[in-house]
Amino acid sequence: MNDTLDVVLRLVAVLVVFLVLPLLVGQTEHKVMAHMQGRLGPMYAGGFHGWAQLVADGVKFAQKEDIVPADADRRVFQLAPAVALLPYLLVLIVIPVGPDGFVGQTVDAGLIFVLAVMGVGVLGSLMAGWASANKFSLLGGLRTAAQLMAYELPMLLTAASVAMAAGTLSLPGIVDGYHWWWTPWQLVGGVVFFTAGLAELQRPPFDMPVADSEIIFGAYTEYTGLRFALFLLAEYAGIVVLCALTTVLFLGGWHGPWSGSAGWVWTLVKTALLAFVVIWLRVSYPRLREDQLQKLAWTVLIPLSLAQIALTGVVKVVIS
């Protein structure tokens, strides 16, 4: 009985985090982006500095008509948002927040699980792009596919580098083995992992698949209402997951002063800082062209991640 309650509580907690943190990131993006552009951003919804803007957006999306184009592949079209969103929920379950089992569910090969499931999320965009029966959606879907191919590799390689350093695939195990000098040691890998993650989330400046000035909104062109909102939520959930993963793998998760009692705060603070960087990059840089995107992945990130693996291996052999 107690075990069941424990599992239910953990799942509810993960669900709450999954529903709240992306909205927080979204609201922060509204405000931070506005101030970086000399604006104020939302000021009315909710009364105080527009804190309820995303709630209002959600209500608006819920009121909209749910449209499926006549020529669309109905079931795939309707399933795509769920496929895009749910993987991030699954990933959140295994991300350790604090020491001593402060995690939804410990998975031994957590790193493999996380990377595999995150790859599934991109399938949602592919399904949407194909099922919409719209040339812009198809173009967006194909660009998503090309981007997935290019950036999954450096992401896996750098994650492998961390796994080599820690000697385990378990996420809590990796954080347990962390020492402060891992961050400079794995710095290149961390940057590559973060960049590749951004590209996989199709965040600016890697948002060629949804380039609104060229192909309307890529794979999501035909979506309205709640399904569209789910795609947007998936993007922000993806930011949370990416930042949390980068924190766990490269920034030492809960490690920091007083990590014994307030370790989970450290994880959240580091995640929030990375989320800020995600927003900051979006405001600062223009979109990369499709060929630049591919060039960056194949000629810069993959060589860098291979070099990181070599460095990790050499250091590992030297210190053992």
């Binding site: 931070v32 506005a34 101030h35 970086m36 552009q37 000399g38 604006r39 104020l40 000021m43 900051w280 990059l281 405001v283 600062s284 840089y285």
Partner: protein, 205 residues
């Protein structure tokens, strides 16, 4: 930033610095309906009518480049001031309207008005949902007169305005006359002297 310019990626860092710096600065957003804008002096918001000064000379209506001023009037005759004199006639304003859907805010009407009956008011919140409602009649134009700011102060060494100069001269003349009368009462032999001075002042005016 110049020594950094050769370093690869310095452009990326510069971009990040620009956005971060902007974030720490004050925003430029004007929260208009909540906070009223600070308009510069002599803003051209709307044209106000000081109808007490209007003589229905029609100069404004004739000079208006897009013919957006409508004036109706009639003539009234007043009895002669002295018995046996001619009857005096004067124009009475019946309608003064400006169609702000046509007005291009050139201000020519205000410039040409010889009697200072038209003024710029900074008031700008008179949007309407129907374009026909933008033709504002004399009562509305008169109400806007209350929002006209006082004219800007003169420069420190500027010449006195003509109206004030004339009024001051008249006041000085009256005072001088009163003083002369008082003098004449005490010394009845001095009358010629005062007459001379009076003539001189008339010539000045």
């Amino acid at each position: 930033m110049a020594p950094l310019s050769g370093f690869p990626g310095s452009g990326l860092a510069k971009g990040l610095a620009v956005t971060l710096r902007t974030m720490t600065k004050r925003t430029v957003t004007a929260q208009y309906p909540d906070a009223l804008p600070e308009l510069p002096p002599r803003s051209r918001g709307v044209i106000a009518l000081f109808e007490e000064n209007c003589t229905v000379c029609m100069l404004c209506a004739r000079e208006c480049p897009d013919w957006c001023i409508y004036i109706d009037s009639h003539k009234e005759t007043a009895p002669p001031a002295a018995p046996g004199g001619r009857e005096r006639s004067r124009n009475v304003l019946d309608r003064f309207a400006i169609d702000f859907s046509l007005c291009m805010y050139c201000g020519i009407c205000i410039e040409v008005c010889p009697f200072d009956a038209l003024f710029w008011s900074p008031e700008f919140e008179y949007a309407e949902t129907d374009i026909l409602d933008l033709t504002h009649e004399r009562d509305k134009l008169r109400d806007w007169m209350w929002t006209v700011p006082a004219p800007p102060a003169l420069d420190p060494a500027a010449e006195e305005p003509k109206e004030i100069a004339a009024a001051r001269k008249a006041a000085e003349k009256a005072a001088a006359a009163a003083a002369a009368a008082a003098e004449a009462e005490s010394e009845p032999g001095d009358r010629d002297d005062r007459d001379d001075r009076d003539d001189q002042e008339k010539g000045d005016a």
